[in-house]
Amino acid sequence: MFLDFFYLLRVRGLDVSIGEWLSLIEALDKGLCESSLTNFYYLCRGVLIKSESEFDKFDTVFAEYFRGVEGESDLPEEFWRWLEQDARIRDINDKKALDSFLLELEELLKRFRKRVAEQKERHDGGNYWVGTGGTSTMGHGGYNQRGIRAGGESRHKSAVQVAGERNFRDFRQDNVLDTRNFQMAFRRLRQFSSRIDGEKTELDIDETIDETCNNAGNLKLVFGRPRKNTVKLLMLFDSDGSMLPYSEMCSRLFQAVSKSNHFKDIKVYYFHNCVYDHLYTTPRCRKGEWIETKWALGTLDSEYKVIFVGDGAMAPSELTRRGGNVVIGLYNEEPGIEWLAKFKKRYKKAIWLNPIRERDWEYMYGSHTVSQIKEIFPMFELTIDGLEKGIKKLLVK
């Protein structure tokens, strides 16, 4: 069987699950690819890939695996058996063989799962189970010349090993995040109030009892407005320069915030290294595409919760000196740290998220400025854990 295609997909970063793979097997078993490679391609894609943004990656892997597959002899034998034998024409004897094959596959997967479970307990596992457990047991089924490769060839990293690594990733809360993770965290940023206008859909029990009593015991229901989130959010992103390596993560964070519809209001501005007289309205930070910081401080009331996102790493002068702004032609009368203090004074609830890991804050370039900023705003690392801690801080009364 072409199980190594499954592993190749995973090695190349496509997170195909065992369940999805078994679905594919089931589909092949039902003869859904109708003996054609093209149909097989679409079948694989429909069952295994769940986002159009990953189609491209899938195409590459598909091409890589089936590269040079032109003549029939180039394909793994089993694969052709799948393709050629449609359920409609498969005779009874063959079907039996197929069943036993599926059993073997199941057994293999069972073993695979067991090993993955083992791996979870032993963090040094990588080498252990590839070395000893590895291929010999896994390949024991013997129906695949290509087998599950472990070690040996370096065309791609050992599939089993990588599969193991992947398995960990979902469990680690502090790892790289996708938009959905961020969104889930942002949901906690809520403060409810019923002052906002809306349809009266919630039963008000106390009022209902009062009104019913006044109504001589005949039931009279009273409805009230449901409580809504009143949180207003001001987000300030450090953009450009030293933040480039983190741009993808910041973009995910931005996506999550802009897609959240439970906030009463969201304002997003950008700055370069530190906040001075202007806040940029686009991440490109160009002169002119901005608003005055003073205006923002004046217009956005103190109920806004402020989240700074930045690495906080800069030359000390950028933070503490007049004219410290590194952008040529922009002279700031007040040092950046004064501007930060103004934000602190205006907005009681403000935090700073740093994409750099907390353990590195003391040793990295810019550790001096980071520690100064930390004295003004509570600083958290930009991970799910950090974001959750930060949001807790924003919600403390």
Binding site: S17, G19, L32, L219
Partner: protein, 281 residues
């Protein structure tokens, strides 16, 4: 198996690509929901209607809004009605069943024959919405706690789910679906689609309109690109207005039907005139 299941081959009023038909048939055969994504106006919702028509099954549509809860799709227990009835002594209040109203999902589950269930624009709902439906869609059953009844499907509905990608859907949910992305139709397929809707329309009018349409879609600065449904509306408008065919490409008459934003119309004319646009917003 393959010969036993009903296969979808498109319908008279809907042009489906071969891949799309395959995806539909795979999802029917594997009894998994089919998740459809694609640009607005590529006929995602129409697909379910077309499947229902071509397989001669009843279509049940559940349009999702931002306030839709998973529970509503299963059933709603009308407590208020029951309370009122008990006050005024109307009806049999002891019969709770009378106050259990099945939602769209419940309707599809309890139907005697197989139905086509369309869950339209699932991404409009709350983030947790898809997760709340996992079990029900997997097992095709749910429990009504008020009457202590389990509702099981008699014959598993064909489930079509559409999404505009406004929100990301949870992994666990995606893993249970078959996925298909409807690509924007190319010229040849577009002509087929037009033909299905308007029959044989004037060849020259069609050619000119298509040329204009694809040239507008190719303009980078247009914010909201016109889609199939807009092209169809436009063709109809052109025919009704009796516009001179030679003016179509050069002047883009009735541009408001194709482009829904003022800036887009301005940009389009500017690009047509100068070949570029400097407007930015």
């Amino acid at each position: 198996m393959a010969n036993l299941m009903s296969t979808f081959k498109g319908s008279g009023s809907y042009v489906a690509s071969k891949e799309l038909m395959n995806a539909v048939n795979v999802s029917i055969a594997l009894a998994k929901p089919l998740l459809i994504k694609g640009e607005p106006g590529t006929g995602k919702t129409m697909l379910a209607e077309s499947i229902a028509v071509s397989l001669n099954k009843r279509l049940i549509s559940w349009s999702i809004k931002s306030t839709t809860k998973a529970q509503e799709g299963l059933y709603v227990y009308d407590t208020v009605q029951r309370l009122y009835d008990s006050q005024f002594g109307e009806g049999d209040v002891g019969n709770i069943k009378k106050y259990i109203k099945l939602g769209k999902l419940g309707e599809a589950f309890t139907a005697d024959e197989q139905t086509v269930l369309l869950i339209d624009e699932i991404d409009k709902a709350d983030l947790e919405f898809p997760n709340d439906l996992l079990w029900e869609l997997d097992r095709m059953e749910f429990y009504i706690s008020e009457t202590k009844e389990t509702v099981k499907t008699k014959s598993r509905p064909i489930v079509i789910i559409t999404s505009n990608a406004e929100k990301e859907l949870p992994d666990a949910f995606l893993r249970r679906c078959i996925f298909h992305y409807i690509e924007f139709p190319d010229l040849k397929r577009m002509e087929e689609i037009v033909k299905v809707h308007y029959g044989d329309i004037d060849r020259r009018l069609l050619d000119q309109a298509m040329e204009a349409f694809y040239s507008i879609r190719a303009m980078k600065d247009i914010q909201k690109k016109p889609s199939t449904s807009e092209l169809l509306d436009w063709l109809k408008a052109l025919m009704l207005a009796g516009v001179d065919v030679d003016r179509i490409v050069s002047e883009i008459p009735l541009a408001g039907v194709l482009l829904k934003k003022n800036q887009d119309i301005d940009v389009m004319y500017e690009v047509k005139e100068k070949g570029y646009s400097l407007r930015r917003w």
